[in-house]
Amino acid sequence: MLLASGLSVSLGRRPVLSDVAFEAQPGQITAIVGPNGSGKTTLLRMLTGDLAGQGAISLDGDTPATMAPRALAQRRAVLPQATAVGFPFTLREIVRMGHEAGHAAHRPGIVDEAVAEVGLSRKIDGFFHDMSGGEQARGHLARVRAQVWEPMRDGRPSWLFVDEPVAALDIGHQLQVMTLLRRFADAGGGVVAVMHDLNLTAMHADRMVLMDGGRIVAAGRPTEVMTDPLLSSAYRCRLCVNTAPPKGIWLLPQAAALA
């Protein structure tokens, strides 16, 4: 279980996160949502140790900040919003970097499987920089999947931290990626995702954390967080939540923005 408390960080004098407490369970997709500038990515970057600030973080009883980099890389993988590749590596080489980071013994089959999972098998030996933006995003997802290939390992859950994993993708690949994350969580792994698409989040997340102004304003099951008043206030526009059987929720933005 991922537990964080007292997370605070400021950029200059402006507080970006103030005293945030956060938890995520293995076996679940925990989605962080909120308007632009609400602190979603900042929270994720603090949870992954990319951003230094105040607060305590524990990952299944260990403190990530004090773990050896190699040991930490075997327990959790992190997918940032965008990753530029500096040299003409092939997709296979990029995904293998992830796999080798997470595994002391190299099993080449995993690299092929991880690439197949995101539907890029025929490009596996092509140049990474020749792929489209959406394909590169899926390529990096294959890389972090290959790093924490086993959702459970030695009786402990593996973790995926992903920042807007579907931002660059069309609707078919959005579903593909969410299905992939779903399967990882169902097999015991933990997923923490920053998400923009509320409908997709409602369909796939087990828990939602709604942020606004550097604070968590609501957390719980999607049905608990996705209510008209909570969303309308956080996103500063009139939003109307509709439900549909069997478990769908969708959201219709209304024309007039709130002041």
């Binding site: 980099p69 590596f89 030996d125």
Partner: protein, 353 residues
């Protein structure tokens, strides 16, 4: 399921054009041996290649071979390997194929260190001389190169991202500054020191002897031997420092290691052979095209290729205006500058520099 539907519409597979690492390594080893044999046997003295084996050599010819050509060959091989590997390390560190110790002022910084040692060496306390011995010039060249690399990285990198424009501009400024300081020292130098400086500044292996080789070889060999330890880290750094950290790479250690090794190898190379440019650009670039950018194969092949290239260039430099010599720096610039322009043009088409 969505996955199946999307995967079911494949066209032909895409494959990056790559040569086999093993074949390239073997080929380079063969080329290195051939150039080494040619370098040993060709020269102004008129000793021909086959005479090495076909007849007994006179004492003078033996001296030419063992005391002039052999140390020069070994020094050329080590310096060439070191310059090529330094280039590859530096490019990995800056995530850009245009970073080269010679271009971004590290060579000039190392040169300044070497000139300080040559010109002001006599003023230094005897204790320093006693402690450093023949390593005084390489040591100062190392400190010069190290300081320049540190400043360069501080200026050009912000939060793990490197601005290439900033890096190149900062390199030009640092190079100019080191060059100016070097100029001041040249004014202060006496006649003997001036002769040393002139020979050295042209970039040449002409002064090679066993003493110089003994001074530089341990540093260069140590750098070459240690650099493969950085290969995995540099591969991950190609995705940015943040991602490299998440891939379990001790990023600060890799950066510090790369900077130290580059400074040591550039310093020692500059100290014994002056500023020889472009080896560090040309060799890694061609190898990346041939076998890909994986540093685990790039670093060893760059060592072989760099050694062969410098030996070949040195042999040419001894032959074209025989019995005089063309400084090898000129030959490398003639080969290297067009290649650099070619990289610029190719990259301009595909990505931002």
């Amino acid at each position: 399921m969505a996955t199946a539907a999307i995967a079911a519409a494949p066209a032909t597979a895409v494959t990056a054009p790559r040569l086999k690492v093993g074949a390239v390594t073997a080929g380079l080893a063969l080329i290195l041996l051939t150039t080494a044999a040619a370098s040993l046997s060709l020269g102004a003295s008129g000793l021909l290649p086959w005479e090495l084996f076909s007849r007994d050599l006179s004492p003078a010819e033996r001296a030419i071979l063992l005391d002039i050509r052999l140390p020069r060959l070994l020094l050329g091989a080590l310096v060439g390997a070191s310059l090529a590997v330094s280039g590859a390390l530096m490019q990995g560190l800056f995530r850009n194929p245009l970073a080269d110790p010679g271009l971004v002022g590290v060579g000039a910084g190392a040169g300044l260190g070497a000139v300080v040692a040559i010109v002001l060496g006599g003023l230094m306390p005897a204790a320093i001389h006693a402690a450093t011995g023949m390593y005084l010039v390489p040591l100062f060249a190392f400190f010069g190169g190290w300081a320049t690399t540190l400043i360069l990285y501080r200026v050009a990198s912000l939060r793990g991202q490197t601005s290439i424009a900033t890096m190149l501009l900062a390199g030009i400024v640092l190079g100019a500054l080191a060059g100016a300081a070097t100029g001041v020292l040249v004014y202060l130098a006496d006649d003997n020191q001036l002769r040393d400086l002139t020979f050295w500044g042209l970039g040449s292996l002409a002064g090679a002897n066993w003493t110089k080789l003994a001074a530089a070889a341990p540093i260069l060999i140590a750098g070459l031997a240690l650099s493969p330890l950085l290969a995995r880290g540099l591969n991950a750094m190609a995705l940015g420092e943040g991602v490299a950290r998440h891939l379990g790479v001790p990023v600060e250690g890799v950066k510090r290691g790369a900077i130290l090794i580059v400074a040591a190898m550039t310093g020692a190379s500059v100290a014994v052979s002056g500023g020889i440019g472009f080896v560090g650009i040309v060799v890694p670039h061609i190898l990346r095209l041939a076998i890909g950018p994986d540093h685990r194969s790039l670093l060893p092949t760059a060592a072989l290729f760099g050694a062969a290239l410098l030996i070949a260039a040195d042999t040419v430099s001894r032959l074209v205006v025989s019995p005089a010599e063309l400084p090898i720096g000129i030959i490398m610039a003639l080969i290297g500058a067009p290649v650099f322009l070619w990289i610029l043009l190719a990259r301009r088409a595909t990505m931002e520099i």
